[in-house]
Structures are given as C-alpha cells and as structure tokens.
Symmetry: C2
Subunit: 387 residues, 2 copies
C-alpha cells in the first residue's frame, strides 16, 4: 500500500475576491438548464443569491431551484432534486453553500439517472456509478468539509434513520468550485470554529497512521500549522482576509486526497462522532472536538513516535529531555488548549448526551482505528473519559 | 494578487511499484496510433523499453518512434516529432523518460498542427495555443523537473542558439503520468542529486517572496524538509524505496502549481543559471547549486523574516537569541552544507566558467527577483562571489 497510490483531482478552483467573475465563463461550458441548489436564507440575506441569479440570467440560463437543503442533507431532498433534474433535463447542478449543499448536489448528480434505488446502490452497497453523471459546479460559502474539491457525499436517510457517507471517484467531483473567502465572513462564529476543527480533524485522521517517513506527513504538518495560526488570527478579527483565505484553502487541501496519498489513515474519531451525532444531534465539528483528545490519549502509546513528532512539528514543543510518553501527551494537551481557544466543547455532557447513551454509542460505532484497533469496550472507555 | 488564484491540475498520477500496470487501461482511452518518444539507450538497457513495447502491442497500438531526445531537447527534434504526428495521424504521444523527453513531447503536442512557426508563436511570443493539442501521457524515469504534472516545456533552438521555456495551460499537461520510483534507481548518482537540487530550487524560488502568512509557505517547508531527509537517506542507499518515492513525489508536488498558489515567486536563480548554462553547458541542477548560496546571501537582508523562518522551519535551527541577519545566514549556510552533502559544485570554476564570461553572463541575464530587484551589476557581484 505504502507509496503506491493514484492521485487525480480535476476540480478547477477559482479563489479570491473576484472569483465569482469566473462563473459566467464556466457556465458557457454547459447547456442552458441549471438546477440551483442552496440552503436556507443566508445566501439571500448576504446578497449572493441575487448576484448568482443575475449571472445565470445574463448567461441565458433557465434556472430551476431546490432550496432548503439541511445541514444534514436528507435523502428525500436528494430524491426531489433528482426528480427536478429529470423533469427539466438539467445540464448543470450549481451548488451554492457549504459542504451539505455540495454533498447533496453530488448525490443528486449520481441519482437522477440511476436504475434501481440510489440509496441502496450507492450509499449502502457502495456500487460504482454506472449511469449518466450530471455535472456539478459549486460556489462555496463555508469552509470545513472540503466537499468543493472531492467526491464525498454524506446523506441522511430520515426514513431509515441512517446517515451514510461515501467518496465517489473524480468524475463526480465538482467540475469547478468558486471560493471567495469573504463569503465566509457572515457564517456564525460557532460554525466557523466548527469548520476549523473539522479541517483539523481531517488532517489528524490522515496523519495518525504509519511509521514510515512520508512526504504526506510533512505536508499535513504544514497545513495544520497554517490552520492553527490562521484560526487564532480569525478569532481576533473575523474579517481578516488573509486568515479566512488560509482557513478556506486549508479546508480544501485538507480533504482533496492530496493529504491522504500513501497514508493508511485512521478515521475512527469520525466513526465515533458519527454515532454521537446520531444520539445527540450535535454539530459535527463539536462532536469531533469532544472525542479527539480522549481518543488520542487512549491510542498514543501505540503510535508514540508520531505523537512526539506531532508535539514538536505541529505545536512547536521542545521535547528534548522529555520521556516519549510525556512528549506525546504534551502535544495532545496543546490540542486540548486549541479546542478551548476555539470555544468548542470538551465533554459529551455539553453536547446533551446522557450516561445511558454511552454503551449504545460504543456498541453502534464501527470499530477500527489507525495505531490501535478498537473494540466496543475501548470505545466505551473513551466515551467515559469525555463524559 | 495575494490569495487570488486559479488552481487546476487534471493530470492523473499512477504512483508505485505496480504503476505501469495502469498503462494499458489508459491506452484504451486513445486511438491506435502512438508516438513513442524517448531519450538515448537507458530505457533499452533497463528493460523498460521492452515492457512498454509489449504493453503497446498487447493493446493493439501502431507505434511510431522518436528516440534520442537530448537532455536539452532541441527544436529540430520537436519539429521532427511534429512531422511524425501529422504523417502518422498520431492519437497519443507517449513520453518515456525524464523532464526533457516530456518537455519535448508537450512541444510536439502543441506544434504538430500549429499554423505558422511554432517557435516564434509559442516560445517567443508566448501565444495561446489555438490549434489541436495531441494528448500526451508519460512514464517517468527521473525525478526533478516536475514536467510530469505541469505545462512546462523548455526547448533549445540550436539554430538560433536560444533556450526558451514556457508554461502551457492545463490542456497541455500530461493526461496521465506513471511514476515508479524503482525506475530512478539506475539514474547515475550525479543526475539523482541534480534532480534533488532542481526540486529544492523550485521550492525555494516559490518560497522566497511575500511577507504574508500563507498556507503555501507552510506546505513548501514541509516538502523541503521531506526532500532533505529523503535525499540523505538515498545517498546512503540508492535503492531505498521509501526515500526514492519521497524524492519523486516531492519533485512532482514541487512544481505542479500547488506550491506556487497565491505566491508572487522569485525565479531569479533560474534566470541566472539559464545564462550560466548557455556559456558553460553545465547540468541544470549543478548550475542552480552554484548560484543559490551567493544569491540568497545577496538578497536576504531584503526578506530577512522569511530567511529566519527558513532557518528555523526548514533546517531546524534554534534562532532564539540570534540577530535576525545571523539567523538568516545560518539557514543559508545549512543550504550550503546540504549542497556539499549532495556532492554538487559550489563555484563557477567547477562548471568550467572563465572570468571573462562573468560580465557577459550578468548582462545577458533577464533582471528581476523576489525580495530584491536585481540589475546587471548586482548579478555580476553574485557571479563574482561564486567564481
């Protein structure tokens, strides 16, 4: 597996204060029927909706709208979108919003012409897409999930009470994504810091695996350091364009597969958070913040050298003269302090969990892990440690 | 300019010991007529030629060959390739070799159907390509130039005695590149270290500009550190697969535009080396090694904070208590030591330059620079410092 990978990411990124100026040029590559997908009212409040409608109409497009995409996009919404694509013979799905809107748009893209039940085929059986894929473009308004430059699509099937995610191959990635950091200024602070920690967690999930000397780990360390510095700057000044730009680009780079090449990866923090979310309906970034510290404390003895490296290279801790375990814990403590700086929770209680939920969460979590393979008992220990 | 960029890199990378297994799958995407472009005899000696001919014939391809591409690919060879493309109605140009072979193949790709003189239009006037572009794929045998995942094409017009380079947009990038680090084992050590330093120089040229807090700089620092560590490991054991993998991937990442986004960049070391090469015919990496140290010593006072950061984050120097200028120079001295470790030259004399050449080199170099804009007098000072 190691040093044996494929890398292919054909999403075109337009980044900066004038990024939206490129939309009409991109629209020229597609037919006239556009499905505009967005969330609640925020893009109307911010004026972005009007701008985009203006550009679409200037480009002579016939626009169908699908609005109200939830922060956990539902399968029912996806099916509604798929129906709109078929009915209107849509040429391009334009997602305007954060990761949820883009995830849902990719789901619509692969489902519209799917024979059989898309949920069962693509989000349960993880089948390859064998039908027409409707191209997706995106205008990003929130930094965190990285959905703007990857194939990820997390969908909640509300009838079945299941949230499933999968990563589609490159032909499902957005064809283009427009990233103007200024659009993220109006995102509430709690969502901003959740996005920061979501990105941090993506990076840690990829970083904490393997004991090889791997270029990808050096890149991840750089992205983590940049993210931490810019998060601190953005907490001081929400409209610090430089900081918000770095946060946005770190989020994109942090899950566009570049920071995963040649890595075994972990993802157990996400597995546990997934089930915490199912029981508490907490915000994703908040759930990740709660689980991360106790999880890494629990497993760090099995990947000690990497945790020492994390302390040194990410947090700048001088570990000379420290026992390895102390150095590893010092790094994890810096992570805890960072979570506090962000104002994110550190306990399950703060997420609304009750003690009786813990065994249920532990048992329903998919077991696994990077440096240590966890079973339900291990996971219960971790949950108790952050209750 | 800052935090205002486009990023689009659609090259598909197959990396690892079994990367060549993907060639036949890729070949299926193109018509039956293939132009195979390669250098001298090394791929025949190594057996790679036979393997590739086997795969091409197994895929039912009709193969035309263009061999003997020089390390500075000539415009005459390019025109010969363009003629072969037209005569044989070529569907795919398959470049097997290092940067020179791939650079030449891109040149053939844009020139075959060019109306008018390709040299004048594309390498002198830097016009946009307005004709059919023949797709290029590559099998890389040497790490350094990054040509396998970018639009760079440096061509020497031997009649006019001019070497010009340009960067074509993404539709000229290789469609796919096959990177098996084992193919680089047979490259002579001098070429291996030249490739390492070429990559290091690409990274420094991008890094040494700007005084902003920029995610790209953090990524570059990580790639530099990985490259340095792996170069040291490869010098001990040429067949250290991990080290050769990292070196190969650092070279690709180091010039695939990712490490350049949102950066003003410098490139004056390359400008000076270009003219040294014209007068001495030195190897590119060797010329870069000679110029780098005196160049950075000459300009570092104009970008002092960045050079201090280079000392700390790339070379791990504890600069606490040091004057900034001393810290900056300590970092540059570490670079000099690294050049010595690689066994590369540090003086123009070693490249065969004579004293009378220095003013000519200085005057013919395109002036410019990142932190300090140089004129011919400045460049002459730098050349004297490394004579």
């Amino acid at each position: 597996m190691k040093f044996d990978f494929q890398y292919y990411n054909p999403t075109k990124i337009y980044f900066g204060k004038s990024a939206l100026d490129n939309l009409s040029g991109e629209l020229a590559n597609y037919g006239e029927k556009v499905l505009l997908v967005y969330g609640k009212n925020s893009i109307k409040k911010s004026g972005l909706y009007d701008k985009i409608i203006g550009i679409l109409s200037g480009a002579g497009k016939k626009v169908t709208e699908l609005s109200g995409i939830k922060s956990n996009p539902s399968y029912a919404q996806l099916l509604k979108g798929a129906e709109l694509v078929r009915e209107n013979n849509i040429d391009l799905i334009l997602a305007v919003g954060g990761g949820s809107v883009i995830d849902c748009s990719k789901g619509i893209s692969v489902s519209a012409y799917c024979e059989g039940d898309p949920w069962q085929r693509y989000w349960v059986n993880f089948e390859d897409v064998d039908n027409k894929i409707v191209p997706v473009g995106s205008v990003l308004t929130m930094a965190g999930t990285g959905s703007e430059m990857n194939g990820g699509s997390v969908i909640t099937n509300e009838d079945k009470m299941i949230k499933n995610g999968r990563v589609f191959p490159a032909d499902v990635y957005p064809k283009f994504s427009i990233l103007d950091p200024e659009y993220t200024y109006t995102v509430p602070e709690y969502q901003m810091v959740s996005g920061v920690f979501d990105t941090m967690s993506h990076l840690m999930e990829q970083y904490f695996s393997g004991d090889d000397d791997n270029t990808t780990d050096y890149i991840i360390e750089g992205v983590m350091r940049s993210l931490i510095n810019s998060a601190r700057a953005a907490l001081k000044d929400r409209e610090d364009y430089e900081a918000r730009s770095n946060i946005m680009w770190c989020a994109t780079i942090g899950l566009n597969t570049l920071t995963g090449v040649s890595k075994e990866q972990d993802w157990e923090v996400h597995m546990i958070e997934h089930q915490i979310g199912a029981y508490t309906d907490c915000a994703h970034g908040a759930g990740l913040a709660v689980v991360s510290t106790p999880y890494y404390k629990y497993i760090c003895r099995d990947g000690l050298d990497k945790f020492v490296r994390f302390a040194e290279n990410v947090w700048g801790i001088d570990t000379a003269g420290m026992a390895k375990e102390d150095a590893a814990l010092a790094g994890i403590n810096s992570l805890t302090e960072f979570i506090k700086e962000l104002g994110l929770p550190l306990t399950l209680r703060e997420l609304g969990a009750t003690e009786d939920m813990l065994p249920k969460i532990a048992e329903s979590t998919i077991p696994g892990g990077g440096y240590k393979k966890l079973n339900a008992e291990d996971i219960l220990e971790i949950l108790k440690a952050c209750y």
